[in-house]
Symmetry: C2
Subunit: 303 residues, 2 copies
Amino acid sequence: MVKNFYLSCDPYMGILMRAPTPSTLALLDAFIPGKPIAGIGVSQVIDSDDPSFTKGDMIWGIVNWEEYSTINPAGIFKIDVNVNVPLSYYTGILGMIGLTAYAGFYEICSPKEGETVFVSAASGAVGQLVGQFAKLMGCYVVGSAGSKQKVDLLLNKFGYDEAFNYKEEPDLDSALKRCFPKGIDIYFENVGGKMLDAVLLNMKPYGRIAVCGMISQYHLETRDRLQNLPDIIFKKIRMQGFAVYDFIDRFPKFLEFVIPYIKEEKLTYVEDIVEGLENGPAALVGLLHGQNVGKQVLKVASE
Amino acid sequence: MVKNFYLSCDPYMGILMRAPTPSTLALLDAFIPGKPIAGIGVSQVIDSDDPSFTKGDMIWGIVNWEEYSTINPAGIFKIDVNVNVPLSYYTGILGMIGLTAYAGFYEICSPKEGETVFVSAASGAVGQLVGQFAKLMGCYVVGSAGSKQKVDLLLNKFGYDEAFNYKEEPDLDSALKRCFPKGIDIYFENVGGKMLDAVLLNMKPYGRIAVCGMISQYHLETRDRLQNLPDIIFKKIRMQGFAVYDFIDRFPKFLEFVIPYIKEEKLTYVEDIVEGLENGPAALVGLLHGQNVGKQVLKVASE
């Protein structure tokens, strides 16, 4: 039994609220109406009949959205409190989100120094890390986001070379051509739809698209029409969907990689923390509408 | 100077007839109105100032659509007439088409014995070879084509396990579910549009899509709307465009691989040969409408 401190709000949870389809069955189990929803949480062990966990241990993993959860210890990670970072980071940069950005960028995008990288939803939980990883590698990095405040974060906090507010661009193709006069080598895809269509037009030959999410499309009855899919052939593009669960074995290596950068303040992480379980539904709905600024976290109890 | 015997009719030539766009510029040079179009041909050297070619040599490579062409010897392959196969094969199975099927299947699809493979335009120049390569590897192979005659070829000549006429299927998703009750591991994409959309719905997790062509989409003002692109994430699909020109270094190895299979009659190749240069335009237009049965070849002169 654990007491929950932080709960993670993530876009995939919106998919799990819909009736499962044969396609989404390949993901996680859909939520069951009338039962608590589940997601990544940071919690403290209250009681345990598993000898690997002791009362007082801090852990992270899948818990229910409630104050106390009885959980299966399989797939639960113990937190090393000596690392001395905000505990909420284990819902994000030090957990599945961080590993998503790490595996997605370094393994799926096959990046090289000097390449041009575009990230959509670029100030989001994953996007802000991908942009910073790409800068650390010596890439030219551009991000898109949905408000002036987010664009300011991209430029002034995360070190993006250029950024634009997609809601204020009359033409996404022109915005991309302005930022990438010579084209895009790598697209880290979080949104799908019209943005993907404009990106395809601006990809360079042999470009790579890591498909992490398509949040603009999940909840549309009729999805955006793309005109530029044949660019996948013309430019020999590799477009690859991935899920973090296939990279769990890299997690220790990832922590070794990322913790020093956090300590040395070479990586920053912006969270949007809402307090109170009762505010969870609004926080999750807000995330699905892009109202969060940075990683959306729900604080259920004080440490 | 060469005398042309056979000219190859290929779908990409339709793209080169349109005004070039930044996307198609990554391909070959667009055709110039008022000048002869160019393509793969099988020809005989009439005269040469290049010491590597002698009068009488049989060659294949890019020539113009005309009776005699003056060509640049760069990128021209000499034909070993001792191999003793129909010369027209060098427009197809023993040339760029064969290498396309070989590289696309063995390198882009990452196939394994026992996997399920779907090929669209499955009796076409490339498709008929992909299906046979997949059978040689011990895969379960299904093809789609646009007429009863082609479906018969798939089943009775190329050894496909199942086949369907997409024009007679009221619902492509149902057709695919009937042929692949457990889903598709590998899709060799030649057509795009609605077929791709139905395939995405039926791909297995970790499926691979080799994008060789999207012939149904090139000449549409408004391209088909796809509903199922998010399946790329849900199922962690890799979708990869490719072009044969990146695999030229495998050509000698490919010939070593393929010629014994032809000699032993373990591979078959169906050609649709139209005679007379004056019938070339109709043959090419027919190809773009799927009227050919097998590899479309234009015979300009008798050997």
